[in-house]
């Protein structure tokens, strides 16, 4: 009975990523886009017309990561204007910070915009309650993966907890369906102060594909201040890890 276990253990080997701050994702991963203006805007306008969530605007030329599904279609239509890099450092403390403009080489993250008590209170230990409010299970699985044997975010004292009473903050995924709006509010209210709020995934940031849906009720985001916006469909575990580390002042951007 011990031998099959030894075999599994041997094949498993060492899985944890040694340095989470030094990770490079595959070239094909679509992360932070780089925008370049050209005199001829025909390609760009065609790409903007096709954009499934209206994240891309040709005049003025902007790409709102909070609405972007990272489908990559615009980069294929307008390769001279848009290129997706594999840079996963795309979390922002402000919603406006997610709007990319030509020439930007980084998603800005000004430490001054983060509340100072966050690093002070949660720098050594941060426990979060996740609320899926219409998420399609992919963001949820990626959040689960942040604690797995590969990413092991728990090494920095960051993890997910079963009860809002044990939590320091709430991570919301999904566009916030009307049928979940009240449960989300109750859960957030149950977390003791000081607390933080994270919007995880493009659907949470803007509603994504469901921004105009009548089944969605985004009052929660209109009445609560979000500390960290994390785009992605779904948000890659590294986007989450990088965002939290930067928010807590453990990492600087740019």
């Amino acid at each position: 009975m011990i031998f099959p276990k030894l075999k599994v253990l041997h094949s498993h080997g060492q899985q944890a990523i040694p340095d989470l701050d030094a990770v490079t994702l595959t070239e094909r991963f679509r992360g932070r886009p780089e925008l370049t203006e050209t005199a001829d805007t025909a390609d760009l306008e065609a790409a903007a017309a096709l954009c499934p969530t209206g994240a891309l605007a040709a005049q003025p030329f902007t790409l709102d990561l909070g609405r972007c599904l990272f489908c990559g279609e615009c980069a294929l239509r307008a390769p001279r204007n848009i290129r997706f890099t594999n840079d996963y450092r795309i979390g922002s403390p402000t919603r406006e910070g997610l709007v990319m403009r030509p020439g930007m080489a980084v998603v800005p993250f000004d430490p001054a915009t983060a509340r100072p008590e966050l690093a002070r209170c949660f720098g050594q230990s941060l426990h979060l309650r996740e609320v899926s409010a219409g998420g399609d299970a992919s963001v949820e699985m990626e959040l689960g993966a942040t604690g797995n044997v590969n990413f092991d975010f728990g090494r920095f004292g960051v993890g997910f907890t079963a009860s809002p009473r044990h939590a320091d903050g709430v991570v919301v995924s999904g566009p916030v369906t009307a049928n979940m709006a009240e449960a989300l509010r109750i859960c957030y209210d149950a977390v003791a102060e000081p607390k933080l709020l994270i919007a995880c995934g493009t659907e949470a940031c803007s509603g994504g594909l469901f921004a105009e849906s009548r089944a969605v009720d985004r009052t929660f985001f209109a009445t609560h201040k979000v500390d960290l916006w994390l785009p992605g469909a779904p948000t890659h575990p590294m986007v989450f890890i990088d965002g939290i580390r930067t928010l807590l002042g453990k990492k600087r951007r740019g």
Partner: protein, 510 residues
Amino acid sequence: MIRYYTTDNTAAAIPLRDIPEVSYADFYDDLCTKLAEPRYHLAHYFVLPEEGRMRFYALLLDDETSQVLVTSFATDYYDDTALPSLTARHPQVHPFERDIAERYGIRFDGMPWAKPLRFPFDRYDRASSMDNYPFYTIEGSELHEVNVGPIHAGIIEPGAFRFICSGEQVLHLEIALGYQHRGVEHAFETTANRLRQCCLAETVAGDSAVAHATAFVEAVEKLTGHERPAQLDRERAIALELERMAMQIADTGALAGDVSYQLGQVACEALRTMTINTTQAWCGNRFGKGLVRPHGTNHPLDVETSAMIRHNVAEIARRYDEVRHDIKSSPTLLARFEQCGVVTRDQMTVLGGVGQAARASGLPRDLRTSHPWGVYAKHIRHESIVKTQGDVMARLMMRCREVLQSADYIDRLLTIYQQKYTDTPNPCTAPDYTAPLAASSLSFGLVEGWRGETCHVLVTDATGEIAACRIKDASLHNWTALALALRGEGISDFPICNKSFNLSYCGHDL
């Protein structure tokens, strides 16, 4: 015997005028007879308001002849005569009748358990809400109720579970869903942007992105009628089987975690990472979003990608098989998994169960065998794996075997690619989002995702725009099977029963 339009899973779209319209009485009689035979089950049954009438469409699958039988009936828009309920005779019709009643206020006479299904925003009765869901209760001083949800302890989607227990033993479990309702079908109908529709299909259930996207583009391609290269079918099948591997491995890990079998849990976590990273190295997204598109692909296979997938899949299969072997040789695990959460073949048949959960109970329902499409109709003669025990262990072993089977299929499909396209270019071209659709037609995509039967039905209007989209995730059939699996079990076995099914909340709520 009523008239059906007989088709299969590869034929072209059906002009609406060719779909027979029968009387409800005949429809009722015929379905009562047909659904009594296990070879038939209802794949979809829905209503569309059209020109002052309510037209009901039904898609019936015949597993023996690979046929899809389509028929319809209609009522006047304001006619509120109650229709005799088919659910009373065949419980598999239950979720469909609940949906029809909830959305349009159509009454079914004698329908047992006539409750809301998902509280859609456009429901007929606005007074019905999540807060007043009519849970079943049993009076008795020795019983207690346990409510779980809508927010669960883990990082999963919301849904409310109400257990009625006698001590530790569960007498009854009722599952109330709808918290995830986003209005997906309505979103399909209110856009003409086909890329947006593809993205919507991928988000119906994010863990089945490839299955839902494939079902949607299959339906679209039947409407455009364009030929597509056989290589495109192969690449879609590779993506689908990679998704199946990833999720079956993830669930093995989750089950292992629930019984504190840490070695299996971490080994499966690592193997799942490897699988979805393989998908990411191919298409840039760990869930395969962006991979399946109509008439073409943005990520055609090349020699390096093909070799990478092949190498990784072989390694994953080898290591996963070691985990399977370890599970089978661990008495502590067998003690938890065996004879726990049993759903019998008869129960599955009555409920119209589909997918791996049905196959674990001895009901061999698998579209890859019964209604093949794409490569399953050509290169791969799929033989379903069927277990008879219907317990957690059977559903787990089903996963273990399917991962190895999928790995084999991927290898075979990549071999074909390498034989054909090492020296010649890949014939898959860029996607086409503008090809005109056949007007006034109905088409469907039926795809066996990792969870089971995934069905997208599209109906176009006279101008060739998508007027209606009706989606069915395998979960719609199987949620009740989970409730039955819990009967008589200890409530502490709920997590492993739940994970052994791993049904979709968002796929159900739409």
